[in-house]
Amino acid sequence: MTMTPSSDGNLLEVKNLRTYFETDDGTVKAVDDISFQLKRGETLGIVGESGSGKSVTNLSVIRLIPEPPGKIVSGEILFNGTDLLLLSNEAIRKIRGRRIAMIFQDPMTSLNPFMKISRQLMEMTQLHLGHTKAQARDHAVQMLETVGIPDARERADSYPHEFSGGMRQRVMIAMALSCEPELLIADEPTTALDVTIQAQILELIKTLKRKTGTSVILITHDLGVVAGMTDHVIVMYAGKIFEQAPTKELFSVPGNPYTKGLLRSVPDPTAEQGKLYQIPGLPPDVAHLKPGCPFAQRCDYTQDICRHEFPPFVQLNADHYSLCHFAREVYSESGGTPA
């Protein structure tokens, strides 16, 4: 497969992606016209709550959306300049696992319970790198050592259930990185883990990223994880990107009421607090979105226009965008100076 040079050092460019699901309840626009870029070597965080579309976005990138009931309706997904949506199934299979790898939240459901870990790892490199059995096995043990599995040589022949949750997630990382992919997509990789194990796994991802230069997309709802792991952040809500900015900017000068609300509703462990700020109401029913801004009902800044007109995607400065009728005001209030 020929590689076309990518533009502007962007490893991945998603343009106007729309992924819809046909359900008994109507068409669910799980991802509804989103665009973003990932620079080589960077970590992009995608933040959102249930129903935001964050997971569907990533499943769309590697074309794991079940069709039916889902369908990538339109858009472009440029990976190194090549549009993944135009590739044949065979071509995309060569990329999945080899050049784009994914790790999921629950390692128990992504690992085959009937196969030894060694075999699952060996499968990857035998298939994608053409390793012989011996080469694959050596490589597998090496990967397990790299991710910190103690006694890797002996434990390689264990089954997934013989490992703890944290260890299983390390095995997943070993599998994901065994072919040295250019892009790693990690979907809530530590949500199911204890906090001290989470710290270990996140540190591991950071270290491996430094060593191999892999670019990472990290999906999470935990703003603390975003703060510690990412260079850029996208905040999603009801299938849309509500805000997009470099991480430091997003936390210090948020330009969107939803982002502000989220930041305020996370308890700050270092300070005394009275009542916690809460975003009122519930996340919207994505199958039946009302006209106007999907966040209007829950927003502190809502005015009439918000209920009738869909908000513009406003550019606040070079790298910072917000989907809001009052983006500039919200940004100024946070202390930002709109360009």
Binding site: E49, S50, P150, S164, G165, G166, M167, D194, V195, T196, I197, Q198, A199, Q200, L202, E203, H221, D222, L223, G224, V225, V226, A227, G228, T247, K248, F251, S252, G261, L262, L263, S265, V266, P267, D268, P269, T270, E272, Q273, K275, L276, Y277, Q278, I279, P280, L282, P283
Partner: protein, 352 residues
């Protein structure tokens, strides 16, 4: 706060051990499980819970916090120890006597999807305790149910609906309404927000806080989420492998954790501030939490503790008041030397 309020619950040396079998003649002959295997889920916990406080109970998987919460209510039977509620040892009561006491001690469960009977309407779920304890009948029940729903921020219209029609956060509110129905004194909240979205978590925490003030409730708030615990609790107790390892006021636990496990736990929590995250020094623990089946000897944390010395594997540390109202279980610190980083290598001031 703790000094002024009286004790509502006094837990003394509570143990919950689960027998996994093994160690029998046949096991030995067959070569499998030659040792008797016991899960020491809760292994000798003593604790006072004061009236109108929220005591946070924190720890990672397998530490025994949920088991402790359930054992207090005898939803899981204690193996040994005492649970005094207003001078009565709940652990010793007959089933009938216990049922009477249960009215005062309620629970909110973690999983809002599994803890509501899918075949009962909201009205039936919230009304059931009133009927079980014969607190109301007929129209009274209906009226009370409506009041309760309003109290937790749900519309009266929901009375005839079924659980599956609601979101996680709403279901949790239904669970709270049910717990409040009997006007209890004490509520065990077992991971009440873990399954919820961030924005809904804040709503539920605020609700629980308001209810506590309005109804003079006492909470045992069990969670692995340190940020939430810090926010809602007056005091925080930390558990590790079935034992209590530290207990203090919430802000002290956070600002000045004394026991090495607590330090590692606090340092592992990600902070939503990129500046802090970029510069902080983390205490990284090696490996996994050991299994609660036949846990390590001596201090259960010694296998992963960056400050462990030889004698740590021989001595089970007791909770010592290292600073006023701040208790920690570690032989390497003492009231004279509270900070383990300053203690001379190899020294154990707590033993002298």
């Amino acid at each position: 706060m703790s000094a002024n309020n009286s004790t509502l619950l006094s837990i003394r040396d509570l143990k919950v051990h689960f027998d996994l079998g093994g160690g029998g003649l046949l096991d030995k002959l067959l070569g499998k499980n030659p040792e008797k295997r016991v899960v020491k889920a809760v292994d000798g916990v003593s604790l006072e819970i004061y009236e109108r406080e929220t005591l946070g109970l924190v720890g990672e998987s397998g530490c025994g916090k949920s088991t402790l919460g359930r054992a207090i209510l005898r939803l899981t039977e204690p193996t040994a120890g005492q649970v005094f509620y207003r001078d009565r040892d709940l652990a010793r009561l007959s089933q009938r006597q216990l049922r009477e006491q249960r009215r005062h001690l309620q629970i909110i469960f973690q999983d809002p999807y599994a803890s509501l009977n899918p075949r009962m309407t909201v009205g039936q779920i919230v009304g059931e305790p009133l009927e079980t304890f014969r607190l109301a009948r007929g129209r009274e029940v209906e009226k009370r149910v409506q009041e309760l729903l309003e109290t937790v921020g749900l519309s009266k219209r929901f009375v005839k609906r079924y659980p599956h029609e609601f979101s996680g956060g709403q279901r949790q509110r239904i669970g709270i309404a049910r717990a409040l129905a009997v006007d209890p004194d004490f509520i065990v909240a077992d991971e009440p927000i873990s399954a919820l979205d961030v924005s809904i978590q804040a709503q539920i925490m605020n609700l629980l806080d308001r209810l506590r003030r309005e109804k003079n409730l006492t909470y045992l708030f069990i969670s692995h989420d340190l940020r939430a615990i810090r926010h809602v609790s007056d005091r925080v107790a930390v558990m590790y492998l079935g034992k209590l390892v530290e207990i203090a006021e919430a802000k002290s636990i956070y600002k000045e954790p004394l026991m090495p496990y607590t330090k590692a736990l606090i340092s592992a929590v990600p902070v939503p501030d990129p500046q802090v995250e970029a510069t902080r020094q983390r205490i990284m623990l090696e490996g996994d939490v050991p299994s609660p089946i036949n846990p390590p000897s001596g201090c259960p944390f010694h296998t992963r503790c960056p400050y462990a010395i030889d004698v740590c594997k021989d001595v089970v540390p007791s909770l010592v008041e290292i600073k006023p109202s701040h208790f920690a279980a570690c032989i390497r610190i003492s009231p004279a030397q509270p900070h383990i980083e300053d203690v001379a290598p190899g020294a154990a001031p707590g033993l002298e």
